[in-house]
Amino acid sequence: MKIILIVLAFFSVININAQTPYEKGMTKAFDLWKNRKIDEATNLFERIGKAEKENWLPYYYAAQVHITTTFSSKDQDNIESRLKKAQDYLNEAKTFSKEDNAEILILEALLYTAYVTSNPSVYAMTHAPKVEALYQKAKVLEPENPRAILCHAEWKMGDAKFWGKDPKAFCPEVEKAILYFEKESPTIPFYPTWGKNQVTRVQKNCEM
């Protein structure tokens, strides 16, 4: 039954969009990712990136899969090799994107955040200022980007907690992000829209 539903879902997609190989590939890669087939998902994103050329999105997602995977890993070697690969993908994405792409900057901030959280004594001093600078730059480029606002707020909250200050100070930012998530309506297919389902996690800091 479930399979049939998926199949139907696919059909509906085809019917509406008359899918190109690019769209089909991207959809499949997102499915793999959703089903926790991490390596297969990045592999497919990488393949699409190579075949498409001139499109930064597949590389962007290949990097994102690696970065988000490290947040749930404890194996430092695995974390570092994934982050290194993610940086390579991000560099590829940058070469195919317009200059100063806010989405790429946000993802890069997350990459450095992953380094800092995995090994603070080595990376905090060098990488934490980079995270901050990247979010600021992204917000200047796109003041209404909900991911920039939300991720930056979460980063600031972590910081406030460390300093024994009230993370609630950044709750209005989260509200602002929610507002902008609602307003978001990308025109480019597969343009980043993630982050909405992370609002609840970040909002936990506001309930204390």
Partner: protein, 718 residues
Amino acid sequence: MKFLITTLELLLLPSLLCAQTTISGTVTASSGFPIIGANIYLDGTYDGASSDENGVFSFTTNETGEQLLIVSFLSFETFSLKTAISKMTDLEITLKEDVNSLGSVILNAGTFSAGSTDKASVLTPLDIVTTAGADGDYIGAFQTLPGTSTVAEDGRLFVRGGDANEANVYIDGLRVFQPFTATANNIPTRGRFSPFLFKGTTFSTGGYSAEYGDALSSVLLLNTIDEPDQEKTDLSFISVGLGVGNTQKWDKNSLSMNAFYLNLKPYQELISQRVDWIKPFESLSGEAVYRHQFKNGLLKVYGGLNYTDFNLIQEDIDIPDGINLNLTNRNLYLNASYKGDLGNDWTITSGVSFANDRNTIKITETDVNNDDNSTHLKTKLRKRFSNRFKVSFGIEQFLGNFDEKVVDPDLGSFRSDYNNNSSAAFTEVNIFFSKKLAMQLGFRGTHNSSLEYTKISPRASLAYKITNTSQISLAYGDFYQTPQQNILKYNNTLSPEKSSHYIANYLYQHKGKTLRAEAYYKGYDDFIKYDTPIPEFHSNYTNDGDGYATGLDVYWRDNTSFKDFEYWVSYSYLNTKRNYKNFSESATPNFAAAHNLSLVGKYWVNDWKSLISTTYNFASGRPYDNPNTDSFLDSKTKSYNSLSLSWAYLISQQKILYFSASNVLGFDNIFNYQYSNTPNINGSFDRRAIKPAADRFFIVGFFWTISDDKKDNQLDNL
């Protein structure tokens, strides 16, 4: 299910209805294990798959004819195969481990990497600035590493039985000619450079790359920051000075500037001094770094100007009133470097450094004025043939000109000057045979046109990974160094001094713990000798000296066994003798203690937002010459002990209160003895102990960073 999927694929890709070929095979690592999750695809197409848990893959394609098959996986080198599609069945693909990935062998014999985030780094960026006793001196933290001798009255680096002149400092690959501030005998010096301008540092205690020459024992390689993270203003209020710094960024440019004024008067008033200061130590320094990012390269221009003066009476056993020394030093240093990508895996590094050092010295009634100009030009090309094979080569030119005028009321005036020009060429190959075995071979040729000599020095190092967590490495090299300024101004017919290094290193790294043990032998030859107490115009100079140094350096670091507490232990055993300068026979010099030990601990107290750091230094007794005995340099001082503490309290993200004190327990340390030139009425020579100018040093500071993001602070400045 299978049916459904097939149906689905057919529907989704009508083109699949055309003739299809199946591409299949297995992917294994060179060790024979299957690789799970490798990415296998036809270049430029959507056709591909990931390998399963047995390393097996299979996918179909409509492509025909010759195609490029790519196989890639994390930490492995990408494999490619160009052949006809029809032949791409039951492929057996073996991936080679990527030698650039984590866990690869590192060529590290003789070398400490510090202040960077790479895995071989023995000091983190924070360590360099928070080590107690270093007091913000960039060099200070390195003195807690094995292979260095504690010579607290000097402040420079004494590496493996070598004196401080045997170590050279480079910034961005270019020579720093006067890396330390001007000082008097027995008053420790400091590095001239502000620590916050640098990122990774390499400290070599021997066997270093053919790219560097003119140093018998050691090189310290500093790299300036490529791009500052943000605009900010730093203010420092210290008990002994004031500092201000500012960083600006615009377009592809950035500019960092800072100025510092140091005056030791408040400290000298508080802590009793053994030296009689007439005018306290005072220095004013300004530095600026400009960076411009080109499309394929980076230009960095550094400029530093430093002005130092002081006046003191130095105690002397033969001169009851002491020696009045008045010194003014002005030092200008410029360094411009360009690093660029030439395409096709070629990179170029090119640059120039220039230093002008001017001293006005008055020793009692004698006036000394000198002016030293030095230039270094260098260009290096590097070609990366693959991750496993890299070649670099380069040329460099040194130009030196020194001029000194001495006016003595009794003896008249003397003028001495010399040129010291030399050219060098170097080449080096870097070969990784596998992730486990690597080798570096290099040659350096130097021609000094002023002293008229040509020397070729080979360098080699080899590293082999024994287990996942440990490796051994070996290094060998010949090194030449031109005689120092104090000799060259009287004689320019000498040969360079020579040393040969033989190094064996063992490294263990596992989960935040590092053990590094290194045994070495260093042979010295052609040391300069002279027949007067100090080098003089009429001295007889020869290259007849020689010597050796051998020993064992051990470094242990543990970051993980205790929560919020990191510590490291350095121990060095040194056995050295040399016959140089005016030595009557081969002996262990005064600066070389047989045993040196450093213990450094750092404790982060989260509730107090404080980093508390402590350093304990021990050195066994140092040799000194007692003219009341028949033997030369055969007596030993008592051992040296010092315990230093520092406390950095983070008031907020941007405000730091810092307190640091050295030798808090007040050990009474003796470095050497000065004996009278003439015997007393009992026929023996009287002596005076050479001790630190003060037993303790302390500073209190407040550091305030103003930036947009309210995040940055000056921990990296301390």
